[in-house]
């Protein structure tokens, strides 16, 4: 028997006390799950910088190591060598607690992500809900950091972030609901397995988009990077942080982005599913990371090409567009699912691609319907605004179609 | 979910329609605009009391809407009721044996729970056939009759509520629900009798009716409560139809009244309630005065609803009264004796009064009392079937009579108005020109109220005219033929004209049943037989008198000469005559359902096997009462009394009808007795003397003697004594008593000034108190639990 997949039994047969063996295996698993994203991050930093550079028609890091691959290491060293400043009048414990919270908020997500058919931290009955839940810890961390560092810029930044994060959690949760409904389970493993026949991204592209946008906002990167709007607030809530603590925030952010990619992969593009994933589990991990990095690239692309929003625009966009759309989406999908079940289009064998087609088509049409409704609504609102502006003899360009 | 096709659920819906109509009319469609009382075009019922003020007059739209709503409500009730009745009567062939019942837990009283429910058994099936029809007719009738009254919406709303209450009472499956309907009806009758509250007599009559029935209702409530305490249930079938409960009631001695069984006491209580409700002898005084209300109301109260309700309640509870008694074997108990005596006496007594009345409606009122006496007496001697039968037939022909008399009054008022409109030139104008004349008069007779208007007429014309006085009528048969014919039918039915009228069959059945006992030599039956025979004779007599005075001969006044309903095209004439025709049909033919099987010829025709009615109704009882064997004596008796009475009446009044101003022949026949009768044996005066004067006298005596004399005297003595001692102990007083009182006051003030700081206004203090006392309560609870544990 292989000692990779059933470590505990393996050790046990090696004559070790079963409880201890179990403990060791769990411990190893935890260590792996915890360290893996951190390691990935180091790579991600490089990827990100290269990518941004290419988009901005630069070369990017190219000095340290081949293609500047060792650049992140250098950064880490630099950050480590920096002094850890704790501002006077800061609320020390909270100040020091905030960065770990930030990292933990992301790392905790990894605990439930099914890396392969057989390898995952835990397969929670309520995995999806858990994912949304731990996101709120990040919010808390931001709050703590912003307040504890006893700095008005930090506090303002924190306020903005918290407002943003809390607001965007609503469409996020609504979007996660859709895969849950489709898979009929909140456990991520089940959700992945439910996508054998058909990835949910085809059945519910709208919720995929919603999830993508709101998770982008959750990470607080462009176009939603108001929390550290360099040009307005001096780096936002983490202004007072330096050295390794800042690095934690930093790493947390990077990990968050990539984690979102992983979540996209798990929820919408069938996680580790791929040829021979069952036979060779590590293959599944590779598939997962591949899909995840695709989404990651897209988010980088967005980040580097879309300008930053004003805070009122951001809020309007959330409350007046995303939230209604997500609610409408949930309603329509739920309705359609019932209809499908009643009509009998539900695939007999969910793993069969062909049998999945009708259901997928119907749901897709539903998505198109919702999207059309929302967009035309926005269009009419935009028209009205433009008309009002013309009436006021103001430049029509001031009005963004999206938002109000 | 309620399955409306389920026949057991359906009875719930019967009272709902009118109730909804009441609510809708009262809350929504009852719109009236204030117009000046002197504006006779807007406000028909002109009344001097209103001059110079504005009165609420219902708008035309509101009137139409109210009528529509009310009518639809009542039609709905009627349709459902007849559906249920139909289902009840032919329930897979065997009729009467089955009972529709449905009940819900209503309120839990300690160990027992009162369940509210509906029940349809043969008895209230009959009521369901009779009541909604009568109510419907009355409603249609009042559309025309009240056509020009202010506050019409209110009238229709109240009638709807009344109907709803009556139907509730009918479908009720327990005494409490029955009592609820009963009381609502009492309220409605109060409102309706006093509908024209501008007239002092009207509201006085309303108050009189209300208080009189209330006295009886309290006693009835006593009975209900006592029954509940004994049996723990008020459901009819649980009490009346399981022998052990009746057995138990029959054996337990009554409280307070030793030597009487509980069942008897309860029975007497309930009967007293009925005596009040259906105006039996001691408490009959309210009913004649109730004639102050609009005539449809009189019909409602005296035919369809209230008085029938009283009798219905007695019939319903009959098995309870009968406990420990077998009237057919001459074995009586207190309630039955009570009913026998009261009923028999009332029948004759009221009939005698009716003989001497000149008011159309008063005559009918007293005849109602006497007919109800018939029923009660019949129940007293155990003629269960006959009583129910007479209840139904009487409802039909009495409603008919009242509405006919109403249209007579209407016609008279019309004639009166016409006289006032045209001055006193007597042109024999036909109806056509008549109706033409309405059109041109702005304040034409299309806009006149009723009695109130009569008063108004006196205001500006000199001579007193009472459109209800039969002495003012005469020769109306030519003016209002339809009314005449229907009136005659009703009258004959009331008089029990042999063979062809409903009244004959029911009355004959009562007499037959009475004779059954009389032949065996039982006293009560004999009493009933002779009383009722005499009463029947008088009934026939005053019916003939009324008919003759009203319709025959020549018109005795200008008004009578011009009386009329305003042309066949007039809405009021249509709506007022249609119900008459419908009811006339029933007044004639309703009797044939109860022809005894052994009746010489007709028996074979109408009831070959058994009398449909009796066979149906007797299933309400556990042991069906014996059918009276056919006997020529009661038959001939009823032939004789009916024919004789009618003939005598015709001979005295119809043969050569009275001329104008000619006195009533009875006066010189009866002499002073006539005054006694005319004044109803001075009963009102008697009650004034017995109850009201003594009360005043006692209070006065108490005031003068006890209060002024004794108490004041004592007080003065004490005062003088104490003034002396007071002077003695003044000094003492000054420092002790004052000091004491002051210290009390100051102490209280001090405590208050300290205590007020409890009111800190700080929520946390309050919360602290809350927690503390919650803690205390918890400890108490634990202690009690611990004690309860061991």
């Amino acid at each position: 028997m292989d000692c990779i997949n059933q470590l505990a039994q393996c050790l046990n047969q090696g004559g070790m006390d079963s409880g201890l063996a179990q403990f060791i295996s769990i411990f190893l698993g935890v260590v792996l799950v915890a360290t893996f994203p951190l390691l990935v991050t180091i790579l991600l930093i490089w990827v990100e910088r290269k990518f941004a550079a290419r988009i901005q028609d630069r070369i990017g890091p190219n000095r340290v190591g081949p293609f500047g691959l060792l650049q992140p290491i250098a950064d880490v060293v630099k950050l480590l060598s920096k002094e850890n400043i704790t501002p006077a009048g800061a609320d020390k414990p909270i100040y020091n607690l905030a960065p770990p919270f930030m990292v933990a908020a992301v790392l905790l997500v990894w605990a439930v992500i099914p890396l392969t058919p057989y390898h995952f931290g835990v397969d929670l009955e309520i995995g999806a809900l858990y994912v949304i839940t731990v996101a709120s810890i990040g919010t808390l961390a931001v709050m703590m950091a912003g307040w504890a560092s006893n700095n008005k810029y930090a506090l303002l930044g924190a306020f903005r972030v918290v407002a943003q994060l809390i607001s965007y959690e609503v469409p996020l949760a609504m979007a996660v609901l859709i895969p849950v409904m489709l898979a009929g389970s909140m456990s991520l493993q089940d959700i992945v397995k439910a996508q054998y026949g058909m990835w949910f991204v085809f059945a519910a592209p709208l919720s995929a988009i919603l999830f993508f946008i709101s998770s982008q906002a959750e990470t607080g990167r462009a176009p939603f990077d108001l929390l550290e709007a360099e040009s307005e607030l001096v780096a936002g809530f983490n202004i007072e942080y330096s050295g390794m603590k800042f690095a934690m925030f930093f790493a947390g952010e990077f990990m968050h982005v990539f984690t979102n990619g992983v979540l996209m992969a798990v929820l919408f593009t069938g996680g580790w599913i791929g040829p021979f994933a069952e036979q060779a589990p590590l293959l599944g991990l590779i598939y997962l990371l591949g899909k995840a990095s695709v989404w990651y690239m897209i988010s980088l692309w967005v980040r580097n090409s879309v300008p930053r929003l004003r805070i009122d625009q951001m809020m309007d966009f959330n409350w007046k567009f995303l939230v209604p759309m997500s609610i409408l989406n949930v309603l329509v999908i739920a309705f359609l699912l019932q209809v499908i079940k009643q009509v009998g289009l539900t695939p007999i064998d969910p793993n069969n691609f062909i049998q999945n087609l009708p259901q997928t088509v119907v749901l897709l049409l539903g998505n198109v319907f919702v999207g059309y409704i929302m967009l035309s609504w926005v269009r009419s609102k935009g028209r009205q605004a433009r008309a009002a502006d013309e009436a006021k003899k103001m430049p029509a360009a001031a009005v963004h179609a999206v938002g109000d | 979910m309620i399955d409306l096709t389920n026949i057991n659920i359906l009875p719930w819906l019967i009272p709902v329609g009118p109730l909804l109509a009441f609510a809708i009319i009262m809350l929504i469609t009852n719109r009236s605009k204030m117009v000046s009382a002197t504006d006779k075009h807007e406000y028909g019922g002109h009344h001097p009391d209103y001059d110079g003020m504005t009165v609420p007059v219902v708008t035309a739209r509101s009137r139409v809407m109210s009528i529509t709503v009310g009518l639809s409500g009542i039609i709905a009730a009627w349709a459902i009721a007849w559906t249920v009745a139909g289902a009840a009567t032919n329930f897979n062939g065997v009729f009467g044996q089955q009972v529709f019942a449905n009940s819900v837990e209503w309120l839990a009283t300690g160990t027992t729970t009162l369940s509210m429910g509906v029940m349809i058994d043969p008895l209230n099936t009959l009521m369901l056939i009779m009541v909604p029809l009568a109510v419907l007719c009355i409603f249609i009738y009042s559309i025309g009759y009240m056509a020009h009254d202010p506050r019409q919406s209110r009238f229709f709303a109240l009638i709807s509520l009344f109907a709803s209450a009556m139907l509730t009472l009918v479908v009720a499956d327990n005494l409490l629900l029955l009592f609820v309907g009963w009381e609502i009806m009492g309220f409605c009758s109060y409102m309706l009798i006093g509908f024209w509250f501008e007239k002092p007599s009207a509201y006085q009559a309303a108050v009189k009716a209300f208080t009189t029935t209330r006295v009886a209702d309290v006693v009835m409530m006593l009975g209900i409560v006592y029954l509940y305490t004994l049996t723990g249930t008020l459901n009819f079938r649980d009490i009346l139809y399981n022998p052990e409960v009746l057995e138990k009631l029959g054996n337990t001695p009554a409280i307070l009244f030793t030597g009487m069984t509980a069942s008897s006491l309860i029975g007497i209580f309930l009967i007293i309630g009925t005596i009040g409700k259906s105006a039996q002898f001691p408490l009959h005084v309210w009913l004649p005065d109730a004639m102050e209300g609009p005539t449809p109301v009189s019909a409602m109260i005296h035919a369809a609803a209230m008085v029938s309700a009283g009798v219905y309640a007695v019939i319903r509870m009959y098995p309870l009264f009968e406990v420990g008694a077998h009237p057919h074997d001459g074995l009586f108990n207190a309630p039955l004796m009570l009913m026998t005596v009261i009923g028999g006496f009332t029948a004759l007594f009221a009939a005698t009064i009716a003989v001497a009345q000149n008011d159309v409606k008063k005559v009918l009122a007293y005849s109602t009392i006497s007919q109800l006496g018939f029923m009660i007496a019949a129940l007293g001697i155990g003629a269960y079937v006959a009583a129910a039968f007479h209840l139904i037939t009487h409802a039909f022909f009495k409603a008919l009579l009242f509405m006919a008399s109403g249209s007579v009054i209407h016609a008279m008022e019309h004639g009166e108005h016409h006289v006032h409109a045209h001055g006193h030139e007597d042109d024999e104008d036909d109806e056509h020109e008549h109706s033409a004349s309405h059109a041109i008069e702005a304040h034409g007779h299309d806009s006149h109220g009723h009695d109130s208007h009569a008063a108004g007429a006196d205001a500006h014309t000199g001579h007193k005219f009472d459109p209800q006085d039969m002495m003012n009528m005469g020769g109306l048969s030519k003016r209002i033929p339809v009314t005449f014919i229907t009136f005659v039918i009703g009258g004959l039915s009331l008089a029990g004209f042999p063979l062809i009228t409903a009244g004959f069959w029911s009355k004959d059945e009562i007499l037959a049943d009475a004779w059954l006992g009389t032949s065996k030599g039982f006293g009560p039956q004999a009493f009933v037989f002779f009383m009722l025979a005499a009463a029947a004779f008088l009934t026939a007599f005053y019916t003939a008198r009324q008919l003759s005075l009203t319709f025959l001969g020549e018109a005795r006044t200008e008004e009578a000469k011009h009386a009329g309903l305003g042309g066949p095209s007039n809405i009021s004439s249509i709506t007022m005559q249609l119900p008459l025709i419908i009811l006339a049909f029933f007044a004639l033919f309703a009797g044939f359902v109860g022809v005894p099987s052994d009746f010489p010829v007709l028996g074979e025709i109408f009831s070959p096997k058994y009398p449909w009615f009796g066979h149906f109704i007797e299933n309400t009882l556990i042991v069906p009462p014996p059918h009276p064997i056919f006997n020529w004596i009661p038959l001939l008796t009823s032939f004789g009394v009916a024919g004789g009475g009618l003939f005598l009446g015709w001979w005295m009044y119809g043969r050569k009808p009275l001329k104008a101003g000619e006195p009533d022949p009875l006066v010189n026949i009866l002499g002073p007795m006539h005054n006694v009768l005319k004044n109803k044996y001075y009963f009102d005066e008697l009650y004034t003397i017995i109850f009201i004067k003594p009360a005043q006298a006692i209070s006065k005596a108490t005031g003068d003697f006890i209060d002024k004399g004794i108490i004041d005297g004592i007080l003065h003595a004490i005062a003088t004594a104490f003034r002396f001692t007071g002077d003695l102990i003044k000094t003492f007083n000054l420092w002790l008593i004052d000091g004491f009182g002051d210290s009390i006051g100051q102490g209280i003030g001090w405590v208050g000034s300290r205590l007020r700081f409890v009111q800190t206004g700080r929520v946390q203090n309050y919360l602290l108190m809350v927690v503390f006392f919650a803690l205390v309560l918890g400890l108490i609870f634990i202690a009690s639990a611990g004690t309860a544990a061991n």
Binding site: - | F757, T760, G761, R762, Q764, L767
Partner: protein
């Protein structure tokens, strides 16, 4: 397996602490926090009883969910009240809000 009474004990302690917060803190926000603590004690009781007494009847969990809802509503409204109170009186001290006194 941890016995029921331990959970109940924890809940009791939590409830008492919450009560004490409510009763003794001057700051309205702290008072609200105390209320939250009490509600959570109740929740803990509900869930514990559900688990130990009738793990198949969802009443316990459902009630907990409703308590959560109520707690959220209560916090929102309470804090809103506190904020408006702060606006009008420039203070969130409970003792300062004692207009309703003798």
């Amino acid at each position: 397996m941890v016995p029921l009474w331990m959970y109940l004990a924890v809940a009791a302690a939590l409830f008492c602490l919450g009560t004490y917060t409510v009763l003794s803190r001057r700051n309205a926000v702290a008072v609200l926090m105390g209320i939250e603590l009490m509600l959570n004690a109740v929740n803990l009781n509900l869930v514990a009883f559900w688990r130990f007494q009738s793990p198949l009847n969802m009443a316990g969990q459902a009630f907990t969910a409703f308590v959560l809802v109520v707690a959220a509503a209560e916090a929102a409204v309470g804090l809103a009240i506190i904020i408006s109170m702060y606006r009008s009186r420039r203070s969130v001290t409970v003792d300062d809000v004692d207009m309703l006194r003798w």
